[in-house]
């Protein structure tokens, strides 16, 4: 029974590698931090810098968890930055005109507006059978355009916002900024939902093999609509976080954020083919992106080079992944007796 034993071993090995993916990413990140800490003369790991980092990248992190869900079902959404801007703008304008008097309500309304956008996108993709990249490309134009339309290309400035709302992004609880709390809570929710609920497992099933999922009695359209709606809601939430953080709402805000978010997912080991990836990876990915962006100036490289470096790191991350996989496959082949 040698043949069968080999298969067993192979399965174990493959599982091991997959499980250790997050570990290896963590190691790389730690190494990165050590180098930065050393090169920056100890100015990186200070509570001030970390807090600032957490506040600046909280909205990106939040978006990353939404994108994670979308990528897991094998989809993609490049309209999230537009949804963010639209919900952020709409909720800020409601605040400006005195319809919203409670900062909590601003967050809620922004999230609901995002939910609405996501729901429509989900319907177009699931029921209209439009490829996700195309549908969300269209909605990127539509929703961003609508942001300009409702605002008449004007800003909502900080003195037109509730003081409590703009203050929210500056305050913290237990030494951790509220904005960071939001993404930490969201992280835990996404982590738990993906691993421990039927809905979470259905997301993986749809992304791993949609045809099989259908036969298993999973309503694929429903899952798609739900996931895009959740992603929209998260983008709406990020809209309120963004306007609170920058104490203004502009029609062009967060343009191109989707690229950072997809990049964070890719670095975190989320496959664009669906079915592979998890919340821990996504979190590590977004932290990596944040560290790169912040650290360059600290280690004496012109901050203008950070985008280029980001590009290189994404390429390296995916290329290394492929090389490791190839090496793995080769080992398996070599081990196969003929």
């Amino acid at each position: 029974m040698t043949v069968k034993q080999k298969t067993l071993k192979k399965g174990g090995k493959l599982g091991e590698v997959l499980r250790s993916r997050e570990i290896s990413l963590l190691l790389v990140m730690v190494l990165l931090c050590v180098v930065i800490q050393w090169r920056s003369g100890g100015t990186f790991f200070t509570p001030g810098v970390i807090t600032q980092l957490a506040q600046n990248y909280a909205y990106t992190a939040v978006l990353t968890f939404g994108m994670l869900l979308v990528l897991l079902i094998g989809g993609i959404d490049i309209s999230i930055a537009s949804t963010l801007a639209f919900s952020g703008m709409a909720s800020s304008m409601l605040m400006q005109h005195g319809f919203l008097t409670n900062p909590f309500m601003v967050f809620l309304v922004s999230t609901l507006i995002g939910l609405g956008c996501g729901l429509i996108i989900g319907l177009v993709i699931a029921k209209g059978k439009v490829l996700p990249i195309i549908a969300t490309l269209g909605f990127q134009y539509i929703v961003r355009g609508l942001t300009y339309v409702i605002s008449d290309s004007k800003w909502v400035s900080s003195d037109e916002m509730l003081p409590a709302f703009t203050q929210f992004s500056l305050d913290s609880f237990l030494g951790i900024p509220y904005l960071a709390w939001i993404f930490l809570v969201l992280f835990v929710i996404v982590l738990l939902v993906l691993k421990w609920t039927e809905f979470g497992r259905q997301i993986y099933a749809v992304g791993s093999n949609a045809e099989a999922a259908k036969i298993s009695g999973i309503n694929i359209d429903r899952i798609k609509i739900l996931v895009y709606s959740i992603n929209g809601a998260i983008a709406g939430l990020a809209g309120a976080m963004f306007t609170s953080k920058y104490a203004s709402a502009q029609s062009n805000m967060a343009t191109g954020a989707e690229m950072d978010v997809i990049a964070a997912c890719v670095i975190g080991g989320v496959s664009l083919n669906g079915g592979q990836g998890n919340a821990v990876g996504a979190l590590l990915g977004v932290i990596t992106i944040a560290i790169i962006s912040k650290s360059l100036s600290l280690v004496g490289i012109d901050a203008f080079w950070q985008q280029a470096l980001k590009g290189v790191i994404i390429l390296l991350a995916v290329a290394v992944n492929v090389l490791v996989q190839r090496n793995n496959d080769r080992e398996v082949l070599k081990g196969r007796e003929i």
Binding site: I76, I78, V124, K127, G128, K129, V130, L131, I133, I134, A135, L137, G138, F139, Q140, Y141, I142, V143, R144, G145, L146, T147, Y148, V149, S153, S251, G256, M259, I262, A263, V266, L272, N273, D302, F304, W305, Q306, Q307, A308, L309, K310, G311, V312, I314, L315, V318, A319, V322, Q325, R326
Partner: protein, 336 residues
Amino acid sequence: MATKSGRTIAHIKQRSVGSVLLRWESILFLIFLAVNIVNYSLSPDKYFNTSNLLRGLRETLVSGMIVFPMAFILLLGDIDLSVGGNVCLSATVLGLVYNASGSIWLGILAAVATGTVCGLINGLLLTRFTELAPMVVTLATNILYRGISEGILGDTATKGMQKVDWFKSLYFGKLGDIYYILIIFLVLAVIFGLVMHKTVFGRQMFAVGENKRAAKYAGIGVEKIRLIVFTLAGFMCGITAMFYCAKTGSVMSNAAEGYELDAICVCVLGGISTAGGKGTLPGAMIAFFTIALLKYGLGLVNIKGQIINVIIGALLVVVVMIPTVQDLIKKHRIKK
């Protein structure tokens, strides 16, 4: 080996009126006409003014150059999100080389070389690491190419290219009433169209886009074709950068932002599916001119560009849902 059953197979296509009318290009053409009618009724005295019309069209031609290589790339079932970054970097190089050497020729050469190399890098990455999704790779190289431009330029601009008259006239110059750039655009459209639909290479691209494995087993060098097309896309980015510099005379690191999505939008609207293997270049051209005229016509009545984007986005989403709706109607009829 004679035909045993005496069966014959026809080899001449019967074109029925219905099949012609149901073609994607015909639907697009109706939309094109509708856009013209709407535009005309909105501003009857201004719309068909030749010089206005041509100037309006010219606005869209620079980014429109990207449509040609994007059509090829989508046809292969690939995608290239890096063209915006590539145009930006190539244009930056053009400005820098011109300012350093004083020779616009050298600048153009450097820009085209830069664009081509960037395209080649995309191609090499994708053909050496065939496991990688083109969306991920070109997303990263887009950030990289634009990032290099940003690293070089910082928040400054490189300018002065319009001091060379003939260079400026690449965008502003005319032959009779027609702008040079429009002539070049149309010539490129014909060339790319012929390559796509009338040559071996074109047919092989369709085969690769439909089914890479079958293409490979038919002896087609799938990866070779992909490499050529991505490199060609890079080359066209260099050319586009040239026109960009002629138009604006200065380059900042946000140059050509969003060109990739505009080009993809035109192609998809024109019937070139992102899934590969489907579509025609004439279709993409009708879509291109529809959008261009829409922008021009609505601009005449002072509708802002952002609202036009809403219309374009809506058009895209609605148009790609047409096949699904047709299917639904068909099913409904059968049930009856």
